[in-house]
Symmetry: C2
Subunit: 82 residues, 2 copies
């Protein structure tokens, strides 16, 4: 039971960025997004990826690669569409 | 060494929302923020809080209470300032 809540949190924590990524690339409007917040989030998921690689924890590795793609796309849009 | 990367990721993953929370409340502009993304992020940190409570893991509990306050403030602003 406890484990399932952890898995659900991990899955949700990976896909939660997708609506923002899609909205940002569709509208190309990034004014209200904080560059600093998104850079810190990107740094966070990169650290979790390194942590996962060092532990050999595949769920952590896969989830964080997906997160890096989603959050990286938001940061890229923020830098391109000022 | 591996543990320290985990701690750093956990701390960064808690404070990373703060720049967005401050920006959103300062500007009162939320048009470019995805309500769905922020609701999913809020659901994620609530699940991690429940997970932490069930495990009795205090770092997880404290970190996620702080995250809920930061992300909750973003969701509240998004709902108030359409």
């Amino acid at each position: 039971m406890v484990d399932y809540i952890g898995y659900l949190a991990a899955i949700l924590g990976t896909i939660c960025w997708l609506p923002q990524t899609l909205k940002t690339w569709r509208t190309k409007e990034t004014k209200d997004l904080s560059l600093w917040a998104n850079l810190l989030i990107l740094a966070t998921v990169m650290l979790w990826l390194i942590y996962g690689i060092l532990l050999g924890a595949w769920p952590l590795i896969v989830a964080n690669i997906v997160s890096i793609l989603f959050v990286g796309a938001i940061v890229t849009a923020k830098l391109i569409y000022k």
